[in-house]
């Protein structure tokens, strides 16, 4: 059974890691487009229209990928995690249904207008479509984060022998970690997208192409990134407090703490050894972990050894992925602040070293995002619903050959489609670059001259 469980987990991790990148990019782009199209409507500056049309192309491609990769996720919940579905389908299923009803249809219905309706509908109706698509992606993320947060900090249910019966939907949806984790996710979507946009514009500037376009984008993005990174550090701190309160063992794995102690140190680097239940080669800042997680210098931190090794998450994975996330996050804050400083001292567009740095930074947001998800999901183990359902109970009754076939097929297809062709066509859009738009003339009522009447 272990092999089927492990393969099912790996397959899920693989497919969801690919999937999450597309919605993340879509959320960020939809928000960016919402702002840019708003600017266009207000100023009527054709440069904004050119920005909108260009990023809409990227958005369309990315959104389409997210939809098809998402269908795989939905079916997998049944095909591979039937034990999970059987018990909590009645809890999480309604949240997914609400996601489809309140988000997917709105996105799908108005995406067509947003992509192809520039000439078919009026400017206001088009902007309304963009707003609705933005609302769609924002709401959609909320439902998914609510469902995932419920698996971390379940609330509002009565556990019976076979099923979970919900007695308070408000508590299910707004469970203790929903809001902080949702904000954390949205901010990381904005940051990832922002750094991607900044990287692409920096590339154009370095190549000396699409200068007006790139400058206008960067002038918005860099101050926004500076603000967002600061906000994200604050929200990240809040998420840490919530996790420590509700999932102390996850915090212990994140911090690499084996023994319960007061005034726990923050370990900058170590190699956690699960067998010996201790860290090797550790380098630590005294009291810092307690300060971060409890906001008290002598705050009490639970150690991993309080439970048997079989009830502990796999520490090295949680420990390192957390450090990757935080490391990239701090780097992002640094880059964004330097960018802001260069922007205000009027040197942003000519600092080639900084523009190169932006290109380097462009994929890092997505890497941090994946690292964050790995921390969050592996830190919850061995539970699929924290303290209620173990992961091995959730596995479907399938054979090793079935899971092997599907895993190999998915890896092949995903690598071909997403790694080869998505990147290739994205590259093509980026190489073609934005096209200049002419200022639209408002259709003003006038009398036809006699020569025009036939």
């Amino acid at each position: 059974m272990l092999d089927i469980e492990l393969l099912s987990r790996l397959q899920f991790a693989f497919t969801i890691s690919f999937h999450i990148l597309f919605p993340t990019f879509s959320i960020g782009l939809a928000t960016f487009l919402l702002i840019m199209e708003g600017c266009w409507l207000k100023t009527r500056d054709p440069l904004y229209l050119s920005i909108c049309k260009f990023w809409t192309k990227v958005f369309a491609l990315t959104f389409g990928m997210g939809v098809v990769a998402g269908i795989v996720m939905e079916f997998q919940l049944g095909t591979n995690w039937a034990g999970f579905t059987k018990k909590i389908g009645s809890v999480l299923g309604p949240l997914f249904t609400y996601e489809v009803l309140t988000a997917f249809f709105i996105e799908a219905g108005f995406l067509g207008v947003m992509l192809f309706g520039w000439e078919k509908v009026g400017r206001r109706l088009h902007y309304l479509s963009t707003c609705l698509v933005f609302c769609g992606v924002t709401i959609s993320a909320f439902w998914i984060l609510a469902a995932n947060s419920w698996m971390q900090t379940p609330a509002g249910v009565i556990v019976t022998e076979h099923q979970f019966v919900v007695n308070n939907w408000w508590e299910v949806i707004f469970n203790p970690s929903t809001l902080s984790r949702y904000l954390h996710m949205m901010l990381s979507a904005y940051l990832s997208t922002g750094f991607a946009i900044a990287g692409i514009c920096a590339y154009y500037l370095l190549k000396g192409k699409h200068l007006a376009f790139s400058k206008r984008c960067l002038a918005f993005i860099l101050p926004a990134l500076a603000l967002l990174t600061v906000l994200q550090i604050g929200v990240g701190d809040k998420v840490g407090l919530v996790i420590h309160h509700h999932q102390p063992l996850k915090t212990a794995a994140i911090e690499g703490l084996w023994d319960t102690q007061r005034g726990a140190p923050f370990i900058i680097f170590a190699i956690p050894d699960q067998h010996q239940q201790k860290n090797l080669y550790s380098l630590a800042i005294p009291y810092a972990a307690s300060l971060i997680n409890t906001h008290q210098l002598k705050g009490k931190m639970i150690g991993l050894k309080t439970v048997s090794p079989s009830d502990q998450p796999y520490v090295p994975l949680v420990f390192f992925s957390f450090r990757i996330m935080v490391g990239i996050g701090l780097l992002m804050a640094l880059v964004a602040l330097i960018g802001l400083w260069l922007f205000f001292t009027q040197r942003l567009y000519s600092s080639r070293w900084f523009l190169r740095g932006c290109i380097f930074m462009s994929p890092t947001g997505f890497i941090a995002l994946l690292a964050g998800w790995i921390t969050s999901e592996t830190g919850r183990q061995p539970w699929i619903v924290y303290n209620l359902i173990r992961t091995h109970e959730a596995v479907a009754d399938i054979t090793l050959s079935q899971i092997s076939i599907s895993f190999v097929a998915l890896i092949l297809v995903y690598l071909i489609i997403f790694c080869v062709f998505y990147i290739r066509y994205l590259g093509r859009i980026l190489r073609q670059g934005p096209t200049a738009e002419v200022a639209p003339t408002d259709s003003v009522f006038r009398y036809l001259s006699t020569t025009e009447i036939k």
Binding site: G78, A82, V100, K120, N167
Partner: protein
């Protein structure tokens, strides 16, 4: 008797699947028709699909999510049994989806993505038909699951039948949306498809009698539905005859709606044959239903949102109504 909540939810799920069949059905059908179209006609056919593409598939996602929430026992029983066909269907839909996106991004690679779109559409349709057949046959619940129980001559036949059905739907949709040469070509293809669909329906109806585990042995179980069982093929056949006449008279709207009529009759026949089971023929709809708190909570959302959804599904079709005169791009 099952309680009302479960009944309402099976109606909603049934309705979502029906919407998917009708809306994505014509898209899949157009995909299958691609080999019969030349370069320019393909562009037009793709433009017919383009504006409503994502919305069409969302009905499948709604059906799936609602089944997950309202009948978790059914979702967790059926999906592992249909592991391989579902994997294939999802991969086919995935290929079709990316082929559709990438098709517009390339000139040289168009042939490749056209083929991928065609094969994806054909594969997804075939698998959907096979799963439909597997439902009618019923599932054997055992540990470990028999991984290939869905694959039988009957289910293969229903797979082919659905290919004919979706192709007919695609052809009649193209008749509605196009003009001149392409439209004329579609009139001829639709007629051929209609003949095939007629044959498939007759054979499936008779064959169902042999594979159905309840019908031949307990015909009295269906006694009070006899009038329905008699009426459905009658309406279906009348629609089919009407379709032939409409095609011969070069009607533009009627073929599409009559094809939908044929689909409705077949769908109703399918529901009657498995009723009241949700996992034929061992778990009933009532047994699989989620607790009332879940069904009620979901129903509040559905009651508010479904009318809105239907309105703007109609509206987004309304914006892009009329003949496709020129191909559209991003």
């Amino acid at each position: 008797m099952m309680d009302n909540l479960a009944f309402i939810w099976i109606l909603i799920i049934g309705f979502s699947i029906l919407m998917y069949v009708i809306l994505d059905g014509f898209t899949l059908g157009i995909g299958i028709l691609l080999p019969w179209l030349n370069r320019q006609e393909r562009e037009i056919a793709m433009s017919v699909v383009l504006p409503n593409w994502d919305g069409n598939q969302t009905w499948l996602v709604l059906g799936g999510a609602a089944l997950y929430g309202a009948f978790p026992l059914a979702f967790s029983t059926i999906l592992p049994i249909l592991y391989l066909p579902l994997l294939l269907m999802v991969l086919a839909l995935l290929f079709r989806g990316v082929a559709f996106e990438f098709h517009q991004k390339t000139k040289r690679g168009r042939k490749l993505w056209d083929s991928a779109f065609m094969l994806g559409s054909l594969g997804a349709t075939l698998i959907q038909g096979i799963m439909l057949g597997a439902f009618v046959q019923g599932f054997v619940l055992a540990t470990p699951n028999n991984a290939l129980q869905w694959l039988t001559p009957f289910s293969l036949f229903t797979g082919c039948a659905l290919v004919c059905g979706y192709t007919l739907l695609g052809a009649s949709r193209l008749i509605l949306k196009t003009e001149n040469g392409l439209q004329e070509k579609m009139y001829r293809l639709a007629k051929l498809c209609a003949i095939l669909v007629g044959c498939c329906l007759i054979i499936t109806s008779i064959w169902t009698y042999w594979v159905h585990p309840v019908l031949p042995y307990q015909p009295w179980f269906f006694k009070d539905k006899l009038w329905l069982i008699g009426l459905l093929p009658l309406i279906g056949m009348l629609s089919l005859v009407g379709l032939f006449i409409a095609l011969a008279k070069r009607q533009e709207w009627l073929p599409y709606w009559l094809t939908i009529g044929i689909f409705l009759c077949s769908y109703a026949g399918f529901i009657i044959s498995v009723w009241p089971n949700i996992v034929p023929y061992s778990i009933t709809i009532a047994q699989a239903a989620a607790p009332a708190s879940s069904l009620t909570f979901m129903l509040i959302g559905a009651a508010i949102m479904l009318p809105v959804l239907l309105f703007y599904t109609w509206y987004s079709y309304h914006i892009f109504r009329g003949k496709i005169e020129q191909t559209i791009h991003y």
